[in-house]
């Protein structure tokens, strides 16, 4: 497998996690591509317009990328904090619609502003790595870090509170859970992950334009979670990796690949309504692993 595809898959997994975080709290937010676009635009602007960041070496310094990530996180975090207060009052499909609107507004603004390059976007974003493999290693480390954070979150008090809100928001509030703040936390974390991912994607893609954060991306990233499952962080990671790879791996079958891709997204929820990766799956696996070996498996004696 070539490293470029691997890098795209890893970025897909990160975006899947960004959609997953509010969804684990029962909030269907489709704002991920919006925050992703903000991260990408921040990286594109800073790295092409600020000579101070470029350093003296032949490649763009990693420290500058980290600085861009910090700034993108700050910007998306503050924006999510303000927006979340307002939009998280909406429930279910209404929240989804409001967040789609947010993504569209950001896209149209980026498209029409002078300094973001209009419809053409920004070109020649400097490269911190010589090869796609370098990007993949960096993104893998980032993904591992975020997976670890998600794992800790799920196994501790705020994670339990999020699951409780997903199951029954009113009952959760009756247990003393501040539901508004918990939902806001999930929304902000989602925005941070998307923003940081945008920075890496901008450098990897070498150019950035308004098309990268559109409604299509909202649906694609949602499919990662629907397919993979929204109960544990493994679900969106699995969904993101597989569904990003699938259209590329299916290239040999030509135009049929879009049909196969569509069928997979359709059949997934049909056979795995909770997504492929569920807590039940782990329980089943554990049972199979712990089952005492049967006499036949020990090598039959006559």
């Amino acid at each position: 497998m070539d490293a470029g595809l691997l890098e795209q898959m890893l970025l897909g997994a990160l975006l899947g996690l960004s959609v997953y975080l509010p969804l684990r709290c029962g909030q269907l937010s489709l704002a991920t591509p919006g925050f992703f676009a903000i991260g990408g635009t921040v990286a594109a602007l800073l790295s092409t317009r600020l000579p101070a960041l470029a350093g003296s070496g032949s490649t763009y310094p990693i420290t500058s990328v980290l600085l861009e990530m910090a700034l993108a996180a700050l910007l998306t975090g503050v924006l999510a904090l303000g927006l979340g207060r307002v939009v998280l009052r909406l429930r279910g499909i209404y929240l989804a619609i409001a967040t789609i609107a947010l993504v569209e507004i950001l896209r149209v603004v980026t498209l029409n502003l002078e300094f973001t390059g209009g419809a053409l976007g920004i070109f020649g974003i400097p490269q911190p790595f010589d090869s796609a493999a370098g990007y993949a290693a960096f993104t893998l480390a980032l993904l591992a870090l975020i997976c670890w954070l998600c794992d800790r979150l799920e196994k501790t008090r705020p994670g339990r509170a999020m699951a409780a809100i997903r199951d029954d928001e009113l009952a959760a509030a009756s247990q003393g859970i501040n539901t508004a703040d918990t939902k806001l936390l999930a929304f902000v974390l989602s925005a941070l992950v998307a923003g940081i991912t945008g920075v890496v994607a901008a450098h990897f893609l070498n150019s950035w334009n308004a098309k990268l954060g559109n409604f299509d991306a909202s649906i694609t990233t949602l499919a990662f979670v629907v397919f993979g499952g929204s109960r544990t962080w493994l679900g969106p990671v699995f969904g993101g990796l597989l569904l990003t790879a699938l259209p590329e791996l299916l290239r040999p079958v030509g135009d049929l690949r879009l049909i196969v891709f569509g069928a997979v997204i359709l059949v997934g929820p049909l056979f795995f309504p909770q997504g492929v990766i569920t807590p039940e799956l782990f329980k089943t696996l554990k049972r199979i692993m712990l089952r005492p070996p049967t006499p036949a498996a020990q090598g039959g004696k006559p």
């Binding site: 954070l149 800790r152 008090r157 339990r160 509170a161 029954d168 009113l170 509030a173 009756s174 003393g176």
Partner: protein, 254 residues
């Protein structure tokens, strides 16, 4: 001072007057019953006390301070826990996790300690798990600790809701029809259980129930609601003999 004061509380849903001029006081440590026919406004009164429904007029006082305008999670943190008539468990979570969510306000730990899983963090988590297991054991649910709440039988689900409510270490426990769907033997057990947890946890209990014999045998005092108004208030004996109560339950001509 009484623990809970309901003062002239009225609730109006559009053209429907669900509660009107309800006055009652609940004393520390008592088991106070709310009786009344369907649609009398009992659950609405619970919703007002726990902050789910705003009173159109009047106020609820907790230890003398008004609860008006407080959201339900703030009220829960003051020490008022409740169960729901139509069971609102966290169905995708295990019984243990349901109780752990109930402990939400007592389980706060520094985020950094939680991330790094420091020794102090793990010790505290173990302690919380033990407390949750003890609560489950009290309601004979210890064997089901790792089962999903959705997989439990109806009676077990009712008991799990009580365990979850107790997990927040409340001073006042609101029980909304805890005996619904239970057979007579289970109802007797429930009566003993409610008494026991009241003594063990130094609780005050406010309970809604339709089963009149259970209520007369369990409660220290009772209030009877009908069409949103409090028509009788007093000891079980007083309430049983009250002509207004007899009329509400048996009809005017009886």
């Amino acid at each position: 001072m009484s623990l809970l004061q309901v003062e002239d509380v009225g609730v109006r849903f559009g053209g429907l007057q669900a509660l009107q001029g309800v006055d009652l006081e609940v004393q520390q440590g008592e088991i106070f019953g709310l009786l009344g026919p369907n649609g009398a406004g009992k659950t609405t009164l619970f919703n007002v006390i726990s902050g789910l429904t705003a009173a159109s007029c009047g106020r609820v006082r907790w230890r003398g301070a008004s609860l008006a305008g407080l959201s339900s999670h703030r009220i829960a943190r003051l020490g008022i826990a409740r169960t729901f008539q139509n069971l609102r468990l966290f169905n995708s979570l295990s019984c243990l996790d349901n109780v752990l969510v109930g402990m939400h306000q007592h389980g706060r730990q520094p985020p950094l300690a939680a991330l790094l899983q420091t020794q102090a963090f793990r010790r505290r988590e173990t302690q919380l798990h033990q407390q949750a297991q003890e609560l489950l054991a009290l309601f004979q649910l210890e064997a089901a600790a790792h089962q999903n709440a959705a997989s439990l039988s109806y009676g077990d689900r009712r008991r799990l809701e009580m365990a979850r409510a107790l997990a927040s270490r409340p001073q006042l426990l609101l029980l909304d029809e805890p005996a619904a769907g239970m057979n007579p033997a289970e109802k007797d057990e429930l009566r003993e259980l409610i008494r026991r947890i009241r003594d063990q946890f130094k609780l005050t209990v406010l309970i809604i129930e339709h089963h009149v014999p259970l209520m007369l045998g369990l409660c220290d005092r009772l209030a009877v609601l009908n069409f949103g108004q409090c028509i009788a208030l007093g000891s079980p004996d007083q309430v049983r003999r009250d002509p207004a109560v007899i009329e509400a339950y048996l009809g005017g001509g009886a």
